[in-house]
């Protein structure tokens, strides 16, 4: 991976996971899961703004908005789906506040670089890959052509 295109926070998250053994990676993912912020109140009234990531096993909804040239990522998933919440939380923490072009430059295979294949299985990691792809697509649709 070209580290020059990976935003600092996502690089730190990757390094944090890779520094741990397999079982501790699960615990770190659980911490991310617990840290997923609640949606801003305005989305409670506009659930239509959220897009469901159908590739994920659990109901997860994401929405990217660009305000004054800064990307903001919102996500929600049920408490019964902690793995999905953890994936979403990694992306929210790593992406929120970046410039749109920085988000678009995140390597598509970032989820595969976290060392989670062994801990949660490559099949499940695909869910995060799908989320990242949706985020980028939503951003592209909002940027001027």
């Amino acid at each position: 991976m070209d580290s020059s295109t990976l935003p600092t926070r996502l690089a730190e998250t990757r390094d944090d996971f890779l520094a741990l053994g397999v079982s501790d990676r699960l615990q770190l993912l659980l911490e991310f899961s617990n840290e997923l912020p609640s949606l801003p109140a305005e989305y409670d009234e506009h659930p239509d703004l959220l897009e469901r990531v159908v590739e994920c096993q659990s109901p997860v909804f994401i929405f990217v908005e660009v305000v004054d040239g800064i990307a903001h990522l919102h996500a929600t998933a049920p408490a019964e789906s902690p793995t999905t919440r953890g994936f979403a939380s990694i992306l929210v923490q790593g992406i929120d506040g970046l410039a749109p072009q920085q988000v678009l430059a995140i390597p598509d295979d970032y989820p595969q670089t976290l060392g989670l294949g062994e801990a949660v299985s490559p099949l499940r990691v695909r869910g995060m890959t799908a989320m990242l792809a949706r985020v980028k697509r939503q951003l592209r649709e909002q940027l001027p052509a």
Partner: protein
């Protein structure tokens, strides 16, 4: 040492009532010597958010599948896995999980491949346990490792390979996937990742019975009468029939396998775990599309 069956919860209506325990029975028996409680979920982190006190976790994907070959682990790995969780060959194992025990039934089926004698499901699974306000804990369980014998898998009786299904065509098949997968509108369950199949549809002559029809709203199994109405009256299964169930990778059909084998008492029931991800990509196997079962293909 095994623990006596749950005889007070209305399971006598089923063919093998000793394969189920109720939440009340489990709560009353927690901590009994010889009893090991196993949680097996779709979500690999759900156990960590809170589990039945003393229970251990077995993950369908990271624990039960061979990491290289598309197959289940072998006898040595199974012995190391379950022995490390305090399960001996004579333990009573009660498995529970999320989503109406979908994954718990899968784990039970894999335990059965290794011939573990006494393995049961918690009727209603994780959701019913929680709905009834029973205790969960995040305290780590500390099982004392025990010796489990190396027993090689005996696949033949309850597991079907693709060749077995081809030879079985003309006998009852149950497709437990969603109606959209059965008809060929899509290759993966709604809201699930596409695990890859090049063709869509179903195995000719298979009856469509989505697995969840066997579960009630609270996650418990439907009554014997309700299950008979589905599988005997509607599908047409008769005593003595040999049946193969399949889904996409063999997990949903484990739930149906449990229903047919242990609740309705069909002797010869196999789960085709290759399922649609194999059949839908295999070269020159027959496929039917649409909502009709389709004709038995001529032998070639």
């Amino acid at each position: 040492m095994s623990v006596e069956p749950d005889t007070g919860s209305g399971f006598a209506q089923y063919a093998n009532p000793e394969r189920l325990v109720s939440t009340g029975w489990l709560e009353a028996n927690l901590g009994r010597p010889g009893l090991v409680v196993v949680e097996s979920d779709e979500d690999v982190l759900l156990y960590e958010t809170g589990h039945i006190p003393g229970s251990v976790k077995v993950d369908w994907h990271t624990d039960l599948n061979d990491p290289v070959v598309r197959d289940y682990i072998d006898g040595a790995r199974f012995a190391a896995l379950v022995g490390g969780k305090g399960i001996s060959r004579d333990s009573t194992v009660v498995i529970y999980g999320d989503k109406s025990n979908w994954w718990a039934a899968y784990a039970l089926w894999v335990f059965t491949l290794f011939g573990h004698p006494d393995v049961r499901l918690l009727d209603g699974g994780r959701d019913l346990w929680i709905a009834e306000g029973r205790e969960l804990t995040t305290d780590a369980s500390t099982p004392v490792p025990v010796e489990y014998p190396v027993v090689e898998r005996a696949d033949g009786a309850i597991r079907a390979y693709k060749e077995d299904v081809l030879a079985h065509l003309g006998s009852p098949l149950i497709d437990v996937r969603s109606p959209e997968e059965y008809s060929g509108e899509r290759t993966s369950a709604p809201a699930y990742p596409d695990e890859g199949a090049l063709r869509a549809g179903h195995i000719p002559t298979a009856a469509s019975v989505p697995w969840g029809r066997a579960a009630a709203a609270d996650g418990t199994f439907r009554s014997r009468a309700e299950l008979d109405a589905i599988y005997r009256d509607e599908v047409g299964l008769d005593d003595g029939d040999a049946v193969i169930a399949y889904c996409r990778i063999g997990e949903r059909s484990s739930h149906t396998w449990f229903v047919l084998k242990h609740l309705l008492g069909f002797e010869d029931v196999r789960n085709y775990d290759g399922s649609w991800t194999e059949w839908g990509s295999a070269v020159r196997v027959p496929i039917a599309t649409g909502i009709e079962r389709g004709e038995t293909p001529a032998r070639s």
